[in-house]
Amino acid sequence: MVAESQRVVKIEIRNVSMVFGDDTDQPTLVLDDVSLQVRDGEFVTVVGPSGCGKSTLLNLLSGLIAPTSGHLFLDGKEVVGASKNYGYMLQRDLLLDWRTIQSNVTLGLEVRGMPKQEARALAQKYLKFYGLDGYEHKYPSELSGGMRQRAALARTMILNPNILLLDEPFVALDFQTKLVLESELAKSVAAGRRSVLFITHDVEEAVSLSDRVLVMSKRPGRIKAVHEIHLECDRTDPVSARNAPGFGDYVTTIWKQLEIQTSALDMEILKSLNLAEDIAS
């Protein structure tokens, strides 16, 4: 096992600041000197209150926008313009309306020039793995939100990306579907050697999936705390992660650091919710 500090850095944000509307009277500082690294095989999550600029981090890494200052690197290459060759999943599934589920899944293979027959055969395997066999010839508009996000997951994983940039991919789903997809994500990350930067505001999701959780402050976003997560459990099972000793402590600590205006009553409710989940499982 290579020491952690010697593993290759796959995703890096170095001293990045971002100002929106700097050509107007009221420029807004969204990100303030943010730095982070994701090493090979690491699952790193950024949590933060809404509006803290965490999604901006991903837009910067994908090259959709350029930073006001600082540098970003994907796979050792500085990000200039649209980045290439990484897995990309957002809250919106970004399935193309005009393609069937199967051809949405083969989209990336088509881009890379794989022959159609071969691409379809491979897609069939992934569709089956993600529980979508029988839906290959449907259009996205015919599927539920959960099914669509599964298809998006299949479309992402079929390219076997070693870098994954994920921005709240499961936020719009119901709790059960979310757990299932979290588990599928965790499994496929564990199976391949992938480096993941995951953005969420869901603290439990962050703790159950990650090796490391970074907490961002309210706007302007700064990294205000880093937590290495060690849980004695099967990390590909989000339910067992939620039941592991220490899980609740991580969640509570991070919740407090998020500085969301929570009253004592809210904390009581949160605790009872955790309890309710314990009973349910």
Binding site: G63, N85, L94, L96, L107, V111, Y139, P140, S141
Partner: protein, 240 residues
């Protein structure tokens, strides 16, 4: 409809409505039957349809290609935008004398008139459509390692189809207007010609008969475009 036609016919027969100025349903029917029997109305419809169809196809092909090309190259966009806006703001009839001088009085001039009246609509529809492509979907393609032409083919062109088809439906009218104006200015056949001549001779029923034939052509075109839309965008009927 029946009531209006009935009242019109009744008014003409009782002398309340001047048949010389306003014609009559029965007179219009008479010319429709006559034109059908001697085939003249079909001949005119065929001529006008041919001009309209060619103008429609050329105008849309040219317009859509240019419109999409403007997305592809910001340089072309800067270069062409003033000309497009200028062309778009010229009343098409003002170009007719030039077109007749350059393209003669035959089929070519009508097709050119029709093409010119279609091309700007088609171009703007295609360009708006291309710009409507979702930047996140474009980003997704880049994340997969796509090149610009792949993004264009796989996202931009399909995204613009909805806009292009709305443009096509508008363009049916414009293509027909172009062809008919061309026939008005100078021609020896076609529905525009028939309407022009009949109008000058105060043959109002024949004008109405020819107008009905023109409407029939427009409806036929709209129908074909609608079928084509469903054929080319099968996913749309699912979401509606």
């Amino acid at each position: 409809m029946v009531i209006v036609l009935g009242a019109w016919e009744y008014g003409v027969r009782t002398g309340v409505i001047n048949a010389f100025l306003f014609g009559s349903p029965s007179g219009t029917w008479h010319f429709l039957v006559k034109g059908t029997v001697d085939g003249s109305i079909f001949h005119d419809m065929y001529i006008t349809s041919e001009e309209t169809a060619l103008g429609f196809l050329l105008g849309n092909a040219l317009g859509a290609t240019l419109g999409l090309a403007l997305w592809y190259s910001p340089f072309l966009e800067k270069l062409f935008t003033p000309f497009i806006l200028a062309l778009g703001s010229i009343p098409i009839i003002a170009l007719a004398p030039l077109v007749i001088v350059w393209a003669g009085t035959g089929l070519a001039s009508k097709v050119l008139m029709s093409t010119l009246s279609v091309v700007v609509v088609a171009l703007l529809a295609a360009f708006d459509g291309a710009r409507s492509a979702d930047p996140l979907e474009i980003n997704l393609l880049y994340s997969m390692g796509a090149r610009k032409w792949q993004v264009f083919r796989l996202v931009v062109v399909p995204s613009s189809l909805t806009y292009i088809f709305s443009g096509l439906k508008l363009a049916v009218g414009f293509a027909l207007i172009g062809a008919i104006i061309g026939e008005f200015i100078s021609s020896s056949e076609g529905l525009g010609h028939a309407i022009f001549i009949a109008g000058n001779l105060y043959n109002i029923p024949k004008v109405f008969a020819s107008l009905l034939a023109t409407i029939a052509i427009a409806l036929a075109f709209v129908y074909v475009v609608g079928r084509l839309e469903r054929l080319l965008m099968p996913w749309r009927k699912l979401s509606s």
